[in-house]
């Protein structure tokens, strides 16, 4: 919901705007006057105003964020809060994200929930929001300095990367003493989810699987065709490739097409991230050896809940500063009911 800016209005429109504003103010004070308990020491119009929570995600088109939107919107409806859901349609990049956050701040929302596409690049706008008295939460990814952020809810990406390594080793029938070449397809070199997953993956390999060698890493900038090109080239360069860790949904889609085209299903262990409906269908066909699912709808729901709670009580009591939800491993043999539960909702 956008505020009405009347400063530039002229003539009849201006009169109408003044009249509307006057009526709005009158009704507001009237409402507060009648609703406020007797003896209330101060009138706080903000309490009576409907909360407006701005939510800025990495890329609106990403099914992960679409699922998050579904969770957040359901919670907003339940709590009677207005949710402004705004982000770049498809580019996961700070250069497209920052102007959108500026735009959102200009609307003076009650609170801001944001998934920074870069931890440093988004720090100044987060600082600015906090300086303007707008509380800020982070979701999925975070800014460098979390000290003034209300809450940060994310999937446990490090644990997700680690279980991805375990799932891959299992699918490759890992035997100590043998060498296994694997590659990693990521979307961005700076996104904290990507880096955490990769760190978890590498740490688990270093700890348990000395025979697994990561030969290359590349970025797809959220473009499935680019991810497909990367994997095609790797399959040519490393004819003995044994595993691919596709670190997010778009990489999973591009990698799945590449191994199908070359008839390598079952020969190259493809471990993907994100339970998009399409990826789940590919998992059930055995094209993915494993799929790591996050819980985006739950993340969106909890973000809304905690932000609304803080805005209404002005207390952080009961609000965790950091909450990590575990990532779930789905394999072709996972029971259908569990797979359905963790498939990202689309509507």
């Amino acid at each position: 919901m956008k505020e009405v800016h009347t400063s530039g209005a002229r003539g009849p429109r201006r009169k109408l705007a003044i009249l509307t504003t006057g009526l709005a103010l009158a009704s507001l004070f009237g409402a507060v006057g009648t609703a406020a308990p007797a003896g209330a020491s101060s009138l706080r119009p903000a309490v009576a105003k409907k909360l407006v929570i701005a939510y800025n995600m990495g890329a609106e088109a990403d099914p992960f964020f679409i699922a998050m939107n579904i969770g957040a919107q359901a919670e907003a409806n339940k709590l009677g809060v207005t949710l402004i859901w705004q982000g770049d349609p498809s580019f996961y990049s700070p250069s497209t994200q920052i102007p959108i956050v500026d735009e959102l701040l200009a609307e003076h929302p009650s609170g801001l929930i944001i998934s920074p596409t870069d931890p440093n690049a988004l720090q100044p706008v987060v600082n600015q929001a906090i300086a303007e008295g707008i509380p800020v939460s982070n979701v999925d990814t975070h800014v460098t300095d979390l000290s003034k952020v209300l809450t940060f809810i994310t999937g446990n990406n490090t644990q997700g990367g680690a279980v991805a390594a375990d799932a891959m080793a299992k699918a490759m029938h890992y035997t100590a003493g043998k060498t296994y070449q694997v590659v990693v397809g990521a979307s961005s070199a700076t996104s904290t989810t990507n880096t955490s997953r990769l760190a978890g993956f590498k740490a688990e390999i270093a700890k348990k699987y000395a025979g697994i060698k990561i030969m290359a890493e590349a970025y797809s900038e959220s473009q499935p065709a680019v991810a497909n090109t990367n994997v095609n080239n790797w399959l040519t360069k490393y004819p003995n490739l044994k595993g691919i860790f596709a670190i997010d949904g778009t990489n999973a889609a591009g990698a799945a097409a590449a191994i199908q085209a070359r008839g390598l299903v079952g020969k190259v262990a493809l471990v993907g991230y994100d339970a998009y409906a399409n990826n789940v269908a590919l998992l059930q066909k055995g094209i993915f050896a494993a799929l790591i699912a996050q819980q985006p709808a739950l993340e969106g729901q909890l973000e809304l809940k905690y932000m609304a709670q803080y805005l209404r009580t002005h207390s952080t009591k009961g609000i965790p500063h950091l909450l990590t939800l575990p990532n779930i491993v789905l394999t072709p043999s996972t029971p259908a009911a569990i797979v359905t539960k963790y498939t990202y909702p689309t509507a």
């Binding site: 088109a61 498809s90 290359a216 499935p224 990367n230 095609n232 080239n233 199908q260 399409n278």
Partner: protein
């Protein structure tokens, strides 16, 4: 400079050599071939697998994903316009085509029928997008940059709205068609190459092509010479849209699904290929063979950097350098050849 008293047997030879050298260096096609050969040699020296049939097939698959966009763009740029909507048009066409094909795939229809229907839907949608662009330019009087920029946002946004961001369809049989069958060539690659040859003949050996360049050089003079400029411009944008639609179908076959973000942003690759190929953004100049070489060079750089394990972001830097060099060469070319 030949003087009246110069020895006719000696000086003209040196002069000829100089003229020849100058014309070779200023021949963009030749220089592009040299650049392509140099890049292939360099990458092969660093990773011999670069010259394998498998890798050539990879480059060809990438090439086919942008060459039709670049061919359409060559016609548009030669006619003095620009089409920023081709990437989004490919995306929307791929998504709508995938929606149309989904039912057929699920009911296990013959794959050839599925792909035929998809191709017709994608091409038809692309054509419609091109016609809307032309209407905005011809009748709403928008400059091509603005008209097609609006379409870029509109088509791109619509493909996301229609799909909720999810890839549409699951068609592994379509992927199997994109596998190289004859050397590095897949069947769709043959079709794409055939289309490029037809477009080349159309641009350089027919009246249609001559009209395109004439309008790009001077639309007013072209109109005075009796060319129906409005109709011709309409057909050029329609052609660009049609080829973008077919690109959407090609990407669908590669991924086995219609992804809403696939193709978006590819208009810049297409324009880069055209500019590297020697076309002038002022219109009236362009060679389709240059566009083909430009697109090949871009794809060779992309694959070469992956094969040699160079950080992916260098790809953009390399393409930017190529554009700068190509544009400089064009600026330095003698005026009569521009």
């Amino acid at each position: 400079m030949v003087t009246g008293t110069a020895d006719v047997g000696e000086v003209p030879f040196a002069q000829k050599l100089g003229t020849w050298a100058r014309s070779v260096v200023s021949n963009q096609q030749f220089m592009l071939l040299v650049a392509l050969a140099a890049l292939v040699t360099y990458f092969t020296a660093r990773a011999p697998v670069f010259l394998s049939s498998g890798e050539i097939a990879n480059i060809l698959a990438d090439f086919c994903s942008i060459i039709l966009l670049a061919v359409g763009e060559t016609f548009v740029i030669a006619s003095g316009g620009i089409d920023l909507s081709v990437g989004s048009a490919a995306s929307l066409a791929g998504v709508i085509g995938a929606l149309a094909m989904r039912g057929l795939v699920n009911s296990h229809q013959n794959e050839a029928l599925v792909l035929f229907v998809g191709t017709v839907v994608c091409a038809g949608l692309g054509l419609c997008i091109g016609l809307v662009n032309a209407a905005l330019i011809n009748w709403a009087r928008l400059v091509p940059f603005v008209a097609t920029l609006a379409m870029l946002g509109g088509a791109g946004g619509l493909s996301i709205v229609l799909t909720n961001g999810q890839p549409i369809g699951l068609d592994p049989r379509a992927i199997s068609y994109t596998v190289a069958k004859l050397g590095p060539f897949s069947y769709p690659a043959f079709m794409v190459i055939a289309l490029v040859v037809v477009a080349w003949l159309l641009l350089h050996f027919t009246r249609y092509g001559r009209y395109t360049f004439a309008i790009g050089s001077d639309a007013f003079a072209a109109r005075a010479a009796g060319i129906n400029v409005r109709r011709h411009v309409t057909s050029v944008y329609a052609l660009s849209g049609l080829l973008a639609g077919l690109t959407g179908m090609f990407i669908y076959m590669r991924l086995g699904s219609g992804a809403p973000t696939a193709g978006q942003g590819d208009e810049l690759q297409a324009i880069a290929a055209v500019v590297i190929g020697g076309a002038s953004l002022m219109g009236g100049v362009g060679r389709l063979s240059g566009t083909v070489l430009g697109a090949l060079i871009i794809n060779v750089v992309t694959s070469g950097l992956i094969i040699t394990n160079v950080q992916a972001n260098w790809d953009q830097v390399a393409v930017a350098l190529l554009i700068a060099v190509a544009a400089t060469m064009q600026a330095l070319r003698p005026a009569r050849r521009r």
